[in-house]
Subunit: 446 residues, 2 copies
Amino acid sequence: MRESEHGESETRRQVDAAARAALDLANVDEAARNDALRSIAAALREHTDEILDANREDVAAAEERLEQGEYPAALVDRLRLDAGKVEDIAEMVESVAEQDDPLGDTLDARELDDGLDLYKVSVPIGVVATVFESRPDALVQIAALAAKSGNAVILKGGSEASESNRVLYDLIREATSDLPGGWAQLVEAREDVDRLLDMDDAVDLVMPRGSSEFVSYIQDNTQIPVLGHTEGVCHVFVDDAADLDVAEDVAFDAKVQYPAVCNAVETLLVHDAVADDFLPGMVERYEDAGVTLRGCERTRDIVDVDEVRDDDWDTEYGDLELSIRIVDDVYAAVDHANTHGSKHTESILTEDDDHAAVFMQGIDAASVFHNASTRFADGYRYGLGAEVGISTGKIHARGPVGLDGLTTYKYYLEGDGHLVATYSGEDATPFTHRDFDGDWTPGGSE
Amino acid sequence: MRESEHGESETRRQVDAAARAALDLANVDEAARNDALRSIAAALREHTDEILDANREDVAAAEERLEQGEYPAALVDRLRLDAGKVEDIAEMVESVAEQDDPLGDTLDARELDDGLDLYKVSVPIGVVATVFESRPDALVQIAALAAKSGNAVILKGGSEASESNRVLYDLIREATSDLPGGWAQLVEAREDVDRLLDMDDAVDLVMPRGSSEFVSYIQDNTQIPVLGHTEGVCHVFVDDAADLDVAEDVAFDAKVQYPAVCNAVETLLVHDAVADDFLPGMVERYEDAGVTLRGCERTRDIVDVDEVRDDDWDTEYGDLELSIRIVDDVYAAVDHANTHGSKHTESILTEDDDHAAVFMQGIDAASVFHNASTRFADGYRYGLGAEVGISTGKIHARGPVGLDGLTTYKYYLEGDGHLVATYSGEDATPFTHRDFDGDWTPGGSE
């Protein structure tokens, strides 16, 4: 057997083992899943030295490649763990354990007829896979979210973190020996990514973690549904009916408070009628904070900034950079955001509710805000609990996604020997279709 | 420009036009969408002769190919319309108009802090495409479901129905002239299917309608999410604690009441302890109804049926055929269904609630029933209203799917100039994260 064939059958074996474990894991009760998470946290703390030793090997190898110019410095930073970071990871795992159980919720209960009751109940998706770049904490986070939500998980980390990942994976596996064996699988070879992405018969969801390019690559190379986001090109629109002091504070917060993240604003749209009043002070404040500004021609008639380049309207800077465009009205702002935005988060500043309604309903994005900073688009701030990710897709989950993004549902029908023949043909009995409050419980409901 | 390039740019133009229309259609109110549906129904009735003339051309061409052995007779039957069928289609469109509006529902409302309220509101997905085989009624049905749910739609029918489809499409377009222009697009060329399937940047969901092979082809050739089902390999398990009279009626109903559909049973699993009592009567009843039976060795020790073939356990007969297997207990039944089933619908007959719980929780399928016929797995019987389709996927929608399968959601955040800086760092204000009852309404909520 050739090496590549061996690798292929090994990946297949791992995915099949995960799929088998998923069937059992779906029925592990909440207490046992939470115990497993607490065991992971304890193991991380107990074996911090071991984790850091392995991580030092990865970092040393990465620094060597950094010197040879093969690696960006930021990547080495993301790779590096210390005792404080390991403690942060352990606390993150404990906080996942403290979340409400996403499983076993009766989402709907409906009587179809006397003694025939239908329940729609949340259950795990099955097998989720994650493919991530250098950060070793991504491995632990996704394993924790998977265990909490009863999903088996395939973990594929970057080769630059292979020593760290292997130690973390071994600790997780040992700490969760009470969960169905094989529920977590580590996949290591580069070629395994494409094999995994081909296994749409057995992997139900892929959650990539990494750069926009990386997530795009995953999206373009698999038929498995992908939960993730590539980029955030977000806008703030200062309407003619804005409170300009409020607008200045929000536009500042949306860019400067933390510019590296996907919910930071990239383009400021300003209504023509207030541009003269608004822009000079705003530009001064941005420039004092070190923001590089570029603007359209009409902007440059008012303030002294560079000319926008061809691709500025479509660029996620992820940095202290911002483009400014003057528009004629809220409709033009909506049109700009729908044309150039990434359907992530958009915000209008206005005291006019009709203008707000036009903007909020007219824009096709996961999150649309009125008089609030785009930076609020986040699972923690939304009160979703553990954040599984942010989705710029529209199917299954959109925007910040909590643990319920890792669930699907199952219909349970409890009857008494009911036949479809009774409800068909000439003398068909009618259905009652009466919704009721009630939970499905194994072995006897309502 | 070569022909194929022309076709490609034309398909692109149509999809882009649909995407633009979708932005406006999302904000067309319920009354206008329902009026458009009633106009479609009226147009179908008024132009029945025109529809039937076009349909006769399609049928004549298909009959010619039938004589040449190129077409199965069933396909010609599915293609054929008459005045009664056109009336049925018109009534179907009216019934879609009568459904509850799936848009604008506030799914969650949460105060993040004083004056900062988050709403999760149902909105259309955007652009849905349907690719369907011969039945011209599929075109009208999907267009109606799309209009109701505020989605733009790309319609690609089979070439064998091209005359019927063109007339139906023209009627729909004219009848819905009050909806945003371009909301429905007809695509005709064979090559356009693959082009459509490549446009995952602009098409949000594909709903194929046709044979299992056809749906599989679509699923295997696109990165656009697919809402559909390929096959239904459903099981009925007669437990040792079953009421055998009830079991016989349900197992009979599940196969014989309508064997051609995906929720009919294909394999009967019987607990070893009751097989001697149960099988002879059951087999006699099936055989009286003309069901062809095959069984495992242990079954054949009790009743005189043919031996199962290699692929019987994995086959959707869609006909009066059934395979029978004797199993040792409920766990073996669960294992068989998880191994050979298509995650569609499974049913256990038992008076023992613990056995029922093992079966219902252990099986990974969209619908799992206790003492009821598998034939209940259907959007109408579930009380979902208009059925968009049945999904054997687990992401976004599972099992019978109603109109809400054509929606996603949008987060609206209403603030008062709130900044993320307030909730960050040393003196961070805590979030309140208080759920409340309230609906988002354009221009002033709660």
